[in-house]
């Protein structure tokens, strides 16, 4: 368990970065692509990136949770 919660955690930062990146992908798909399979595919790719970010964020909080009592 338990890296210190004070130490910067690259996994956590990467997770949140991927969350935002996935959202930007989704917005880009809406703006840039015409209606159809390509737009849907890019939207769901963005959501997949978000899912990856969420997994990393969750994992990082398991690793850095405060000490148990």
């Amino acid at each position: 368990m338990a890296a210190s919660p004070k130490r910067p955690d690259p996994l956590k930062s990467l997770g949140f970065l991927l969350l935002v990146t996935g959202w930007i992908l989704v917005l880009s798909a809406v703006v840039l692509l015409k209606q159809g399979a390509a737009r849907g595919g890019f939207v769901f790719s963005g959501i997949a990136v978000e899912a990856l970010g969420l997994v990393l964020a969750v994992r990082s909080h398991i690793a850095t949770k405060p000490e148990r009592h």
Binding site: F16, G22, V30, V31, L32, I47, H61, H69
Partner: protein
């Protein structure tokens, strides 16, 4: 600015007012559940914190929240991207200034905004209970009710870019969230997740071997009664939201009420069945959580769902809630005493997506599922990081968590100076490993 003004007939206005009068019961139900799911030594604190949340949310929303939220057809900030207008934030005046007090749809939407902000603020209380300082609760609620909730509410309810996905990009009728599955519940549930991460688990929740200890709620009757009260409030909230933000006719309100009841009922049954299979007996607190999960899930599209779809959405929501509560606690080390993340975030996301797939929307609903998915992506990819960073800063500068001695003593005595049940014997850390 996008001009898509909402006009209500006299009968719609009257029905909306009646619905909004009963909507605050959803807050009462949730507060009762939060209190009942915590320990007796923190019961008064949880209820007091709930009252403070409603008070702070109402005041902050009036001061500035409503300005950001706005209403369809009112002043707003718009940028043009790719030749299409992206309406991203309201530009109304603070303190409800300029709002006509004549029963107009804008005023009713602002009233619903107060209830929505309060309800969203109550959700993180469930995950942070028994260790979240009262002052920090108030500050975090102020940010949620004054910024996070109104911003997303503008996008979904105030004629913002999500609501305009249909007009601008041909995605169904745009993002639909009449009862607030995403705007209220997923936003609140993701804030609850951020707080569960930042606060860490309660003392004694995890043993030295890493296994979670069961810390049962102190009053199952509060929890279950809270469910019944919430059903009434939710019906009002869904009805008002459908009239204001989905433009449904009064005749649809019966369908909305039926779907709300069916969502809760099937979710309660789903959660009871899952816990019966998993543990040998139905679990009352998880069944109650499932019930509310069903309410959350059907809220978004209840005006457009056939009753059979509402039953299916509720059933799956109840099962998801029961399974996610266990998953989060056992495998992800998230200590969420009220089950807020599962009940509000997970069930809300499910409801938004399933509603987009199963609903019968005007114009055939082509692209509706994609519009709902874009709304969900915005909640996870924008609202979650934002609410996490805000609460991280609050934790850094104010401190979210109460001290270990005070936590051992109980929140009632530590923060309020008196317990909820003074005639009872006060226990120390009953569940702590010795």
């Amino acid at each position: 600015m996008i001009s898509n003004t909402v006009v209500l007939s006299d009968s719609q206005t009257l029905l909306c007012i009646v619905a909004l009068l009963i909507a605050p019961l959803s807050c009462a139900g949730l507060a009762l559940m939060n209190s009942g799911l915590g320990r007796a030594r923190s019961a008064a604190h949880t209820m007091t914190a709930g009252m403070c949340v409603i008070a702070v949310a109402a005041c902050v929303y009036v001061v500035c929240g409503r300005s950001w939220q706005g209403f369809a057809g009112e002043a707003s900030r718009t940028i043009v991207i790719g030749g299409k207008p992206w309406n991203w934030i309201g530009a109304a005046r603070p303190f409800f200034a300029g709002l006509p007090f004549d029963g107009s749809p804008a005023l009713l939407a602002a009233w619903m905004g107060i209830v929505g902000a309060a309800l969203a603020g109550l959700i993180p209380l469930g995950s942070g209970s028994e260790r979240w300082r009262l002052a920090a609760v108030c500050l975090s609620t102020a940010v949620l009710a004054g910024w996070t909730f109104p911003l997303f509410a503008h996008w979904a309810w105030g004629g913002g870019w999500l609501a305009q996905l249909g007009v601008n990009y041909g995605l169904g009728i745009g993002y639909v969230d009449a009862g607030g599955s995403g705007t209220i519940h997923v936003a609140g549930g993701l804030t609850a997740l951020s707080l569960a991460w930042l606060l860490g688990p309660r003392r004694g929740k995890f043993g030295y071997d890493g296994m979670p200890m069961a810390i049962p709620g102190h009053n199952a009757v509060y929890v279950l009664f809270g469910c019944f009260v919430a059903l009434v409030g939710w019906t009002g909230l869904n009805a008002a939201g459908a009239l204001l933000f989905a433009g449904v006719q009064p005749g649809r309100l019966a369908l909305i009420a039926v779907n709300t009841i069916l969502g809760a009922a099937s979710a309660g049954l789903g959660a009871a069945a899952i816990t019966r299979v998993r543990f040998g007996k139905p679990d009352s607190s998880l069944t109650a959580n499932g019930w509310v999960g069903g309410l959350v899930a059907v809220s978004a599209t209840c005006a457009f769902l056939p009753p059979a779809a509402a039953i299916l959405i509720g059933l799956v929501a109840g099962a998801l809630v029961a399974l996610c509560v266990e998953l989060f606690e056992l495998h992800l080390d998230i200590d969420d005493p009220g089950g807020s993340v599962s009940v509000h975030a997970v069930a809300g996301i499910w409801g938004l997506l399933a509603g987009g797939a199963l609903g019968r929307f005007p114009g055939g609903g082509e692209g509706q599922f994609l519009a709902q998915a874009i709304g969900v992506a915005t909640l996870i990819g924008f609202v979650l990081p934002m609410t996490y960073v805000v609460n991280l800063l609050l934790n850094r500068f104010v401190g979210l968590r109460i001290g270990p001695d005070a936590e051992r003593q109980g929140m009632d005595l530590a923060e309020l100076g008196a317990g909820a049940y003074p005639e009872f014997v006060t226990h120390t850390d009953d569940f702590m490993q010795r």
